[in-house]
Symmetry: C2
Subunit: 374 residues, 2 copies
């Protein structure tokens, strides 16, 4: 169930077996640095989302550049991060069920662990789990600032939960989780900024209401790769949670900057490496990366070195490249780098990151939290 | 990288952690039996496709009901099957690259291993790999009977490759691979049968041409869950390769039978189990199964016990249920079974099958070939 690594350290890229998940290390490291540099002047804390990479190796790289810890979406991810050396984890999600809450509370004996909540009964259950492990758990109230997913309405419903947390013996009220996922992928810059502004306003009003009632928000967290500078400069968020910036993907590449040009603040550093396995039909090359090598929820991958060649018609273990609009020809055995449509669920299909620098395999990192969805 | 099992043997279904991949064993066993019974009168061999389940445990169950071996799509799957006790494997795909061909030839020292080819240079490479491991490899020529994926054109191009295989010192010509994947999902029965008829005609003509040139097709293989009876009754195919019939999925459920009613020859036996983790918004329940728990290439999952409730708007670790059209109410902590849109790539997201009978966990089977895409 752990597949063999498709590469060895020192191997030339062209010898890496396929399908494989590549990180171009120079671009990856520039991405890490760029985000750190971009938010440094704002003084806002950075807590990158580990759901993108599910790798403590990468999390520790992010912390070495100033991140205060990571966000996780599941208890399994949080366990992976803590066991891999990350000392501070926020589960930016609801954790439901006595088994998962026991794991969360037990983990809080090994590291700083915080969690979100949007439900009164769930807060009672978190309190009970924390008491049973003799830990005091920090809990943030998740508010819905336009994402239509988890989270209570801003304002009074959030206040009521915050007061409940504050009164619970084994809990401590730690602030607000206010992430607007949908706004990350709004293509037009002005519309994207407007969606973020609305989220910021709802968040700011809730922070103020809580303050009126004597509750300070130590953490006000949210933001993603598409919007993080807006939240950072808002004066109301103090912790940013971008994740995809380390890799980028074809979907984020369709966002626009203020001048209408494609969003290129970060470089594509993540690729799915694939081999042409059939060229029996004129104009179509068949590759060995399909539905089990990439996620297609945000559209088809882009051929990195020949973006004019459409990838189409994926099946479980195959993809098709339409060569008709290109001067390029691919022969059986040729290898091609694909930019996946959506990085996070693509990473979760692989066991190994193959780190490439100057065309050579420099590192092989396990996707340690692959499958840690529970 | 292997996640913990979300269940223990003997546990009640309601205590299984989520997201989890469930097999309802009674339905699963009826499916196994139904296909075996349906093709028995035709006398055609059955070689189910292991790309659906990636589990030797399931493969051996299929063989116990008469299957002659399995098909695989990758060398990694073939290795998983052979190491799990399956003695006869056909890689129904092109295998390209010296590393993969070495693994294939080495595997042929442990079991009966056959492979397909659609390219002259690839046949040279297969011959070289076989010679280097001192094995004689059976090779089938893959022909394209309408699928527009791998495979040479039927007729003369197939003959040329068959002759090349026949002349290669370490190879033996073993027949034709003639799978029409696209036809499996044609909704209308008559259109589906017509697509299969065209595939059968092309295949039959190629078999005849080869025979004229002294080449017998020991194996003429193809067919899937949507069409297998047509190929079986054609008199021209002698090996059927259906895979999804063991589980079914929402997509196959949209096929129609001859009378226009939904295709129900097989039952849904595969489910993704999920928990409602948020109910903070009226009319929407948020569940913990999203893009990392199911594949969405063939559409959204169906709520098994409340099909009137649409699942919509998946994100990495979340899904949304629209409760507005239902009398059902879900509370935080309630668990729901989802019928995935497409079974094969959904299975590949999980490490464990949780086998359920009468509401109790009866077995836990590893998805031993999960990730074995190379």
């Amino acid at each position: 169930m752990v597949s063999r690594s498709p590469a060895e350290i020192g191997m030339s890229l062209k010898d890496v077996d396929t399908p494989a998940l590549l990180i171009e290390l120079d671009a990856f490291e520039r991405n890490l640095r760029r985000l750190a540099d971009a938010i440094a002047p704002t003084g806002v804390r950075f807590r990158p989302h580990a759901k993108t990479h599910r790798s403590p190796v990468i999390a520790l790289r992010q912390m070495a550049l100033g991140a205060v810890g990571v966000c996780c979406q599941t208890v399994g991810e949080a366990e992976t991060m803590v066991l891999g050396g990350v000392p501070d984890v926020l589960v930016s999600n609801q954790v439901v069920g006595s088994g998962k809450l026991a794991r969360l509370a037990a983990l809080a004996r090994q590291a700083r662990v915080r969690v979100c909540a949007d439900d009164a009964d769930n807060i009672v259950a978190i309190d009970k789990a924390a008491a049973s492990y003799d830990v005091r758990l920090d809990v943030l109230v998740e508010i819905d600032v336009g994402n239509q997913r988890c989270g209570v309405a801003p304002g009074r419903p959030a206040l009521e939960l915050a007061q409940q947390i504050d009164a619970a013996p084994a809990l401590r009220f730690a602030g607000l989780q206010a992430y607007h996922g949908k706004s990350q992928h709004i293509r037009d810059f002005a519309e994207r900024r407007q969606a973020t502004k609305e989220a910021v306003d709802l968040t700011a009003a809730t922070v103020a209401l809580l303050k009126e009632h004597g509750l300070d928000c130590e953490t006000v967290g949210g933001a993603g790769t598409g919007t993080f500078l807006s939240e950072a400069e808002s004066g109301h968020y103090n912790e940013l949670q971008a994740g995809s910036y380390i890799f980028m993907d074809a979907d984020y590449g369709r966002n626009q900057k203020e001048d209408g040009t494609p969003f290129d603040d970060f470089e594509n550093s993540l690729f799915v490496y694939t081999t042409v396995i059939s060229q029996a039909k004129k104009g179509i090359a068949i590759v060995d990366a399909g539905l089990k090598a990439m996620s297609f929820d945000s559209g088809e991958p882009v051929v990195a070195d020949a973006p004019e060649v459409p990838y189409f018609g994926p099946s479980d273990e195959h993809g098709r490249l339409n060569m008709e609009a290109s001067n390029k020809t691919f022969a059986v055995g040729d290898k091609v780098r694909l930019i996946p449509g959506h990085c996070d669920p693509t990473v979760n299909l692989h066991d190994w990151y193959i780190g490439i620098r100057n065309g050579r395999v420099e590192c092989i990192w396990p996707v340690a939290g692959r499958g840690a969805s529970a």
